[in-house]
Subunit: 422 residues, 2 copies
C-alpha cells in the first residue's frame, strides 16, 4: 500500500489500525468535529463519566468525610504511581499535586537551595514561557544572585543541544527543559542532556507536559533528577486537572518543599505547631487537593495503560508521518511550512504548520469548518494527534479543509488583526 | 415555648425553622446519618449534581477546548465575586485559586516583601497549624530574619486579644489569625484587631475558612488587608475544592505574587519570554485551575446566597444555643466540658465538647452510632452545625447518643490507643 492523498487510503489505514476501537471509549458529542487539540485538552473518557458518578454520589454524597480514609488521602500517590509507569519511574517517585506551575516552583526553589554556590540556570527559548516565568519569580525571591540563561534555538524547531552542552560548567545549578517542546514538538534526548549536566554536577528538571501519555519516557534509564507534567493533555485527565511531579528516590531526602502545607506534614492530626515534613514525596504536597478533579485523572491514565504506550507511539508516528506526507503533497505548494522536525523520531505527537495567514486560517478552521487545532503565535497551526481517538480520516479531512481555505482564500473572511483566542 | 430536653421540642423547633426546606436541596444518601461535620466537608448540593453533568458533558465533553473562552478563563473571578458577597468585599477583591495553603504562601511572601524593615509576625496558638507551617516555610525561604511569635491563648478557647494588642509595635510586619478558630470556634473581632494593627503600620491577614458561609464577615467595614479561605466547608464546594484569596483593592498593586504562573500573566497567548503580571487579582493566579472542582463551587455558593447569610447565622445561633443548653442539662453532669465560648456572639457555627474519653467516644459515635462529628486532639469532639441542612432533631439525637455512650460506658469497646482517623 503506497501513500495516497485519497480519502479511501485514510479509510484503509483506519481499518488496519489495531487501536481504532479505543475511540469508542470516549464521549464523542459531535461525530463530525475534527478534534486535533488533544495535546491541549484531551477528550472525556466514558469511564470518567462513570467514575465521576461514583466520586460525586458514592464518595462525596454518601460517604462524606469518611471518604478521606477510604481513598482520598492516598489519591495523590495512587494516581502518581500509575503515571510513574508511563515515564519510567518507580511508584514512589511520582505524586500528583497542585498545577505544573506550582510544582515547578517547589522543585526549582528546592533544587536551587540544594545547589548552593552555583549561580547559573540553563534553559532554552523553546521551553513553555510560564516555566520561564516561574524561574524568574523564584530567582527574584531567593536572592537575585542566580542567572537564567535562555539558550536560543537555531531554527526555532530543534533544541539547541550543542549550545546547551557547551554552556555547561561547574557553575550551573540546574538545567530545565521541556522534553517535548510545546510549539514545534521537538523531543530532546533526555539521557544525553542529563548525562552532560551530571558530568558538571548540575541537576536536570524535565517538563513532560507534552510527552506524558504520547512519547515514551524513561526517567530511570536517563537517571533524570526531577520532572513535572500536566495530566489534561494526552492523559485525558480533565480540564486543569492537578499536575504531577517526580523526584528520583535518592534525591528526595535532600530536597525541601518551600510550601509547607497541611498535606505535606508528617502527622496530619497531631496538630503540632511546628512543621515536620512527611516521608518521601508526600512532603511535596501542599494544601488539600481538589479531590474531584484529582480523582478523575485515574480513568484517563488507565486507558493509556490499557492501550500500551508503545502501541500509542507506533500509531502516533504513523499518523504524524501520514500528516507530513499530506503536507508535502497538498499544503507545501500553498505556502505552508513544516514547523516541526522532519525526522519522526525527533517529533512528538503534534505537528506544527506555519503559514503567513496562519491566524486567519486557524479562525476559519475553528469557526466555519468544524476543525479544532490550536494556534501558537506567530503563525503556528498546531495539529495534535491523540492516537487513542484521532483517526486517519480526521487528519485527511483537516488537510483537505486547510487546502480549501487557502486555495479559495476563505480566510479573508477574518480580519488580519483578530485576537488570538485559543 | 421553654427549653426542653424532649425530642418533641426538637421537632417543634424544626417545624418552626424557616430554612428547613433547604435540607431538600442536598443529596441525603442515608436519612438516618447524623452529619455534624459540615464544618469539615459540606454536603453535596443537588444543584451541584446538575452542574457536574453540564461541566462534564456540556463543557468538557462537547465544547472541549472552546470552553476556555466560554467561561473557564473567567471562573476564578466569577466564583470569587460571589464569595465576595459573603465576606463584605468588592467583586474584584476576591479570586479563587489553588489551596488555602498555597494562597497563604503567596500572600505572606508578598506582604513580608512589601513590609521590608519590619521583622515580627504575630499569630496565636489557636490558628490552624498548617497556617503556621506555611509561615515557618516562608520565613525560612525569605531570609530567616523574621520572627514568628505565637501568642498563647489563656484558656485555649478565647483568642488572646489583649496580649496580641499589647504585642503590637512598629516592628510588626504582619498579623495572621483565623477569624473563627478551628478548635473552639471562637470568633475574633476583625475590626478591633485590624484597627490596632493598622495603628502601628502592620498588615492583617484573616483565614476565613471556618467563617465563610456561616459567620457574617465584613472585610470592607473592618478595612481588612488580606484574607484566605476554603470552599469545602460551609460553602459546600466539594472535597478539596480550590480556595479563595482576597486583597483589598488599594493594596493590590503593591503586592507581588512570587509564583509567576501561566494564568497570572498579562497576555496569555503572546508567549512572551518575560513575565508581566495581569492586572488586579488575576496576578495572584498561578497555573491552570482544576476546572471541574472549581466549577462545582458555584452552586454551593449560590445556595448560601439564596438562603441569606444573616438568616443562616440566626439559625446557627439558635442551634448552637440549643446544643449548649442540652450539654448543660444532659452532658455536663457526665464530665463533658464546653470547649467553645459560652457567649454565642463569640462562637462560630461549631461547638467543641471535651471529655477525658473524647477519642473513644468519637470512635463509638462514628462507627457504631451513625453520628459523624469530627475529633480534634487532645479531647475535642467537634459538632458542626451547617444550618442549611442540620436539623434540631440531629442535634438532639447526637446529644442523646453521646449521653448513652458515657452512661453505658460503650466507649470501652475501643482501645485507649486507637489512632485518630478524621
Amino acid at each position: 500500500m503506497t501513500m495516497s492523498v485519497d480519502i479511501e487510503y485514510a479509510s484503509q489505514l483506519d481499518e488496519q489500525d489495531p487501536l481504532a476501537h479505543f475511540r469508542e471509549r470516549f464521549v464523542i458529542a459531535d461525530p463530525d468535529l475534527i478534534y486535533l487539540d488533544g495535546n491541549s485538552l484531551g477528550r472525556l473518557p466514558r469511564d470518567t463519566v462513570d467514575l465521576a458518578e461514583d466520586v460525586l454520589h458514592g464518595q462525596w454524597g454518601a460517604r462524606l468525610i469518611r471518604s478521606w480514609n477510604e481513598g482520598w488521602f492516598e489519591a495523590p500517590e495512587r494516581v502518581g504511581a500509575k503515571i510513574a509507569r508511563l515515564i519510567g519511574a518507580q511508584a514512589d517517585e511520582v505524586i500528583v499535586a497542585d498545577s505544573t506551575s506550582v510544582n515547578l516552583f517547589k522543585l526549582v526553589v528546592a533544587a536551587l537551595r540544594a545547589q548552593s554556590g552555583r549561580s547559573r540556570i540553563l534553559t532554552d527559548d523553546l521551553n513553555f514561557p510560564s516555566d520561564l516565568y516561574i524561574l524568574q519569580g523564584a530567582i527574584d525571591l531567593l536572592d537575585k544572585q542566580h542567572q537564567l540563561e535562555i539558550i536560543p534555538s537555531v531554527d526555532g524547531i530543534h533544541g539547541p543541544v550543542a549550545e546547551l552542552q557547551a554552556a555547561l560548567d561547574d557553575q550551573v545549578a540546574l538545567v530545565i527543559l521541556s522534553h517535548t517542546v510545546f510549539k514545534s514538538g521537538y523531543i530532546y534526548d533526555m539521557s544525553a542532556i542529563t548525562a552532560a549536566a551530571h558530568a558538571v554536577g548540575a541537576l536536570v528538571l524535565w517538563d513532560l507536559s507534552h510527552s506524558v501519555g504520547s512519547v515514551p519516557v524513561d526517567l530511570h534509564a536517563a537517571q533524570a533528577d526531577m520532572a513535572i507534567g500536566c495530566t489534561y493533555k494526552y492523559l485525558n485527565g480533565g480540564p486543569g486537572a492537578p499536575a504531577f511531579l517526580s523526584i528520583r528516590r535518592d534525591l528526595q531526602s535532600s530536597l525541601n518543599n518551600p510550601i509547607n502545607g497541611w498535606m505535606g506534614q508528617k502527622n496530619l492530626f497531631n496538630f503540632d505547631l511546628v512543621y515536620q515534613p512527611a516521608a518521601g514525596l508526600r512532603s511535596f504536597l501542599t494544601g488539600t487537593a481538589p479531590i474531584i478533579s484529582l480523582s478523575l485523572i485515574e480513568s484517563g491514565v488507565d486507558l493509556i495503560l490499557e492501550a500500551g504506550l508503545d502501541n500509542l507511539r507506533t500509531k502516533s508516528e504513523l499518523q504524524s508521518e501520514y500528516l507530513v506526507g499530506l503536507w508535502r503533497t497538498l499544503l507545501r505548494p500553498l505556502g505552508f511550512t513544516l514547523n516541526s522536525p522532519d525526522n519522526v523520531r525527533l517529533r512528538g505527537s503534534h505537528v506544527s504548520l506555519g503559514h503567513a495567514e496562519g491566524l486567519r486560517i486557524d479562525l476559519m478552521l475553528l469557526n466555519d469548518m468544524n476543525v479544532l487545532p490550536d494556534f501558537r503565535a506567530p503563525d503556528n497551526i498546531r495539529l495534535g494527534i491523540a492516537p487513542l481517538y484521532t483517526t486517519f480520516r480526521d487528519i485527511h479531512t483537516a488537510v483537505i479543509r486547510l487546502r480549501r481555505i487557502v486555495v479559495e482564500k476563505l480566510y479573508e473572511k477574518y480580519s488580519t488583526d483578530a485576537p488570538i483566542v485559543t
